[in-house]
Symmetry: C2
Subunit: 434 residues, 2 copies
Amino acid sequence: MTNDVFHKNELLDRESLHTLQGVRLKNVVFQASKSRFYRDQLFRAGVRIADINSVEDIRKLPFTTKDDLRNHYPDGMLAMPVDKMNRMHASSGTTGSPTCVFYTKNDLQTWADLMARCMYGVGVRPEDVFQNMSGYGLFTGGLGIHYGAERLGCCTIPAGAGNSKRQIKLLHDFHVSVIHIIPSYALHLATVFESMGMDPKSLDLRIAIIGAEPHSEAVRRRIEDLYAIKAYNSYGLSEMNGPGVAFECPEQNGMHIWEDAYVAEILDPETLEPVPEGEIGELVLTTLTREGMPLIRYRTKDLTRFLPGDCPCGRTHRRLDRILGRADDMIILKGVNIYPMQIERVLMSIPEVGQNYLIVLERDGFLDQMRIKVEVKEEFFVEDMRVLKNMQQSIARRLRDEILITPRVELVERNSLPRTQGKAKRVEDRRQES
Amino acid sequence: MTNDVFHKNELLDRESLHTLQGVRLKNVVFQASKSRFYRDQLFRAGVRIADINSVEDIRKLPFTTKDDLRNHYPDGMLAMPVDKMNRMHASSGTTGSPTCVFYTKNDLQTWADLMARCMYGVGVRPEDVFQNMSGYGLFTGGLGIHYGAERLGCCTIPAGAGNSKRQIKLLHDFHVSVIHIIPSYALHLATVFESMGMDPKSLDLRIAIIGAEPHSEAVRRRIEDLYAIKAYNSYGLSEMNGPGVAFECPEQNGMHIWEDAYVAEILDPETLEPVPEGEIGELVLTTLTREGMPLIRYRTKDLTRFLPGDCPCGRTHRRLDRILGRADDMIILKGVNIYPMQIERVLMSIPEVGQNYLIVLERDGFLDQMRIKVEVKEEFFVEDMRVLKNMQQSIARRLRDEILITPRVELVERNSLPRTQGKAKRVEDRRQES
């Protein structure tokens, strides 16, 4: 059971991996060309199957966007007739058409295999009892990880989302050793344990798979401490099956993206050219094994970078950094690409800085400028102008080191910036106003 | 794909089916004896494996109840170690311990096979698009039918419960041909179609699988008319895997219980002796193929009867009538077993009778009596005492034909009986009062 989950491809040398990718890319372009969408796309781009002979040839291929999926709803992306499909997942699609992903029987199999590989890689074994606290249904996170855990041979408890007291009863009574849980829910659940007079550390829990929402390293460490477990980051998106695209190894330093199943590119979201090695850009993915609905150069809009160097775990598949935001959030200022997440990371590493900040883009004559209003913690907001001036300059310098331009930093008192319910508005673009 | 779903066992002659049941029963008793619970039970009952040589020997075996499952929570019923299990489902268990069912990989396979058999039997084919409107998670109805549909090869849309507008969008856009839906929700959804100015008849829908709640033949016919489809009844319970225990065939006259996977007995819930052929009693089930958690003579508490005669469809497996109520509701009066559902069916077939009635059990000297208060529809409640007297006598006669004793019938005006929110209280037992 276990030997067939750990796949020799995980340790394939880079050259062989490249060769494999080239062969599979050619296959998948051939398969994709059977769909109405790609037949047109490839024709318009003037690409023939014969032009694709290595993975480097991927740059000849056109891109695919979420809008393409929406515009060719419901079945224009399919490379095989609907009656060959075995599953369909869809986004909620409250406005306009949902984005749909179809799977053949083989696609479901390879998806479950990839997911099982992820779990096996961090030490999950057939003997484990696995509780899936993800919602099921059309959302790929539920059934995706469920099938992976069953494929691996775990005793799978399809608990679904919510009902914290029942989750805790199941965790305790069935000696659950592995969970799949949303990070914020893991933190919440710990408070429910406390209110019930129980210590989450007393469980038989060993491993948590966390994902489906952005979270910081501090949140991961907090989950690990609260439950006395290891927590591993998972990356996936429905368009690429769902979970199981990239996953951490025991090193917990970046997520290996399974390059025998996907070609990953990191591109400048503006020019669509590759960014220099190790720099941040938009993750663009191509499916290498999907037969029902192959996707070529799909723009995920997710910002990340390849972590440099080899992983001590021995897996040769490259590692992605945490997702650092959305490509749509990118600011272009004086010809430089800047991501708000870069600014946030710098600010949050400075002890004097409070929780809130605002990035204002404005025009000064013919020049674009960035001004950053930064709330200072109460205890650091002193009357001494020299101290504040120093703080200001220090923050500006540290930002410059990260984003390559020097912003004007304006220190403001705690709670003086507007607060919004839900997602904070961090960028105000006033460049068109003057 | 299809040939391996239709199983030759469905047409097995009764004698061969009996032989098969005998062999499998011996196997399953052996398997069960590996669990803590059955080792003790079989020892106490003085039954040895060698004593079980035909399906008739089932009567030597002890019964299993829901309380047994609760008392041996969480794993006292398991015939194999937990680490050999591949899934666990549990009842909600809001009070006390939930009842849990474990499945090995083989058990999941045979469950999916049985469910696929049910669907294939009513004309579902791999080319169908199947939308599952059942909640997923710990409830067996969701994943149970999902796995059956995927096993059969349908394109399965795991829509889950609720969100009617999205359900309708999916039904329409993906040309869904088969659905799994709760009967009351099917009626509700038709009103949503109407409010959207759509006709459910305009869909590509052919077949609905309905179950999970009691419903009348009138409700089934109404669903069939509203959607212009065929609707088939499904019977199952988590303790016996979930759905896929018994299912209608195209004849729509009783649900074939798969006797190669279950031994079905219909017993008097008081004496636990078999009822005469064709009479109502409690359904008692034994699993014949389960390895992880076999159950022997499990008292379902569900009341039904075997329908007499052979089914024109050619399947040899006996047919169960609709579930007619719960064994706990049985009334014993003058030594006769009476089920409130029998009384309800007689009353509801009489045009003059309204929606409400009350069964009162009382003592008259040393004799127990049944008095039935029956609401009469407004238009039939006339002042003429002779008419009412005739109606009264006619109702009493028809009840006598069904329940074998003559109740006192009391006609009352519409809305004069107490109404309760939710489940109506139909029986009032005053026999201990005097």
